[in-house]
Amino acid sequence: MTDAALFWSPILLTLKLAGLSTFVLLLLGTPLAWWLARSKAGWKDGVAALVALPLVLPPTVLGFYLLIALGPDGPGGAVASLFGGRSLAFTFEGLVIGSVIYSLPFVVQPIRNAFEAIGERPFEVAATLGASPWDAFWSVAVPLARPGFFTGAVLGFTHTIGEFGVVLMIGGNILGETKVLSVTIFEYAETLNWAPAHLLAGGMLAFSFVVILLMMRMERKLRHRHDG
């Protein structure tokens, strides 16, 4: 493997992981956020607390339980055996699962808040104008919650890029498959290779900063468009 490949592989892998995870998170997180925003079920708070757990759990704890869950003692093993495998650990797919759980609250929370901010009235109006609940979701809720989707996507993406503890527990450090940026930087630091460590870490820092800056600008623009 050339040095260039060794250098770029973690970067591309990390971007791929963050991108796919964010996509999955939006897909799964949106109905969840919708339910949390609109449901009157008594156990709603319990579900919300579960979703928020990754906010307070040390990533290593999360990774630890993931290791068991992804292996032959857990559901991951059952899924893997469908494809002739034994475990979902040490696979890119396993990392996606871990990332989705790890970044879930960062995506669900902003979307839920955006849905809640809409209030009840626009849905009543939509109903009296002939929109079924499904129709109202797409024609009223989604457009009005757009800033929430945006924030959630950006937070989920950047959070996954920085993911370390979870990857350390279930990744296995396989180049091109599970060796992401954070782990690579850690390895360089452990082996006292300061130059590439600085380069990659600095790059990550700059990238995250730019992304967050852009996000704030975009959010302001989106908000102003609504106010007319």
Binding site: L67, P72, R86, S87, F90, M169, G172, N173, I174, L192
Partner: protein
């Protein structure tokens, strides 16, 4: 049922062991010693023996060798350093934080091949079997046990065949974890991890001939140059009582005697 509980207990302990940077609370006049994480259990035993014999207290801090090195070279208040290799112990001295000439080998790491399935007879042929999908090792770049594991594969002529099956943990504790949870079929771990008969599974001690010695060196740090407990502890490590304890724990000793 009981076996499962044992598993959980061991797993939990290993989790704590691999959570880097755990240290014991401490106060008063004593020595602070930084210890490579894989030596933690043995260090505790040695610490107790040392205190019984001399009355001095040792406060241990654990971490990966690389992390401890970084801490020491940035002013962490340790008096002595027990590394998991020789290279970083020497670097501490050349970086100006260690006392020249104080470096010595306190233990020799031994490799073991481990599987969580009980009652297996493992040998060098076990890793070559077709049914093996994943073999866990410690990261060869950051952990000397990992580098030694790769040497074993090389000397068995199996590097090309097995390279795609390798998964790396950050250290041997994690490599063990991978095998213990069933995610990896086999793991190359430190013998010290599996020598306890209560550890569930089967293991095979890798012959010393298959890899370079994993010499683990200790160094007196400048900060501890006048620290009586620290000096006494490093002396203690070379004594027969300590050496016997180290061998019992599954390491070899610099005296050439290998534990089995």
């Amino acid at each position: 049922m009981k076996g499962m509980w044992q598993r959980q207990k061991i797993l939990l302990h290993l989790l704590l062991a691999s959570l880097l940077g755990v240290s014991d609370a401490v106060s008063g006049d004593q020595a602070r010693v930084a210890v490579a994480a894989n030596f933690k259990l043995t260090a505790i035993t040695l610490g107790t023996l040392f205190t019984e014999e001399t009355g001095h207290q040792i406060a241990f801090s654990y971490g990966s060798t690389g992390q401890l090195y970084a801490q020491i070279t940035h002013g962490a208040p340790f008096d002595a350093f027990l590394a998991a290799d020789q290279a970083r112990a020497e670097r501490v001295i050349s970086a100006g934080y260690g006392v020249a000439g104080s470096r010595f080998t306190y233990a020799c790491g031994r490799l073991a091949l481990y599987s969580r399935d009980r009652g297996l007879t493992l040998s060098s042929n076990s890793i070559l079997e077709d049914g093996i999908r994943r073999i866990a090792v410690a990261n060869p770049r950051t952990a000397p046990y990992g580098a030694a594991a790769l040497q074993v594969l090389e000397r068995l002529g199996a590097t090309d065949q097995l390279a795609p099956k390798l998964v790396q943990g950050t250290n041997v504790a994690q490599a063990f974890q991978f095998a213990f949870t069933g995610n990896a079929d086999l793991a190359m771990v430190a013998k010290a991890q599996v020598i306890d008969p209560t550890v569930a599974g089967s293991h095979w001690t890798v012959p010393q001939t298959l890899h370079d010695p994993i010499a683990q060196d200790a160094v007196l740090l400048l900060r501890g140059a006048d620290n009586a407990p620290a000096l006494a502890f490093l002396r203690f490590l070379k004594e027969p009582t300590a050496q016997a304890a180290i061998r019992r724990a599954g390491y070899g000793t610099a005296g050439g005697q290998t534990g089995d």
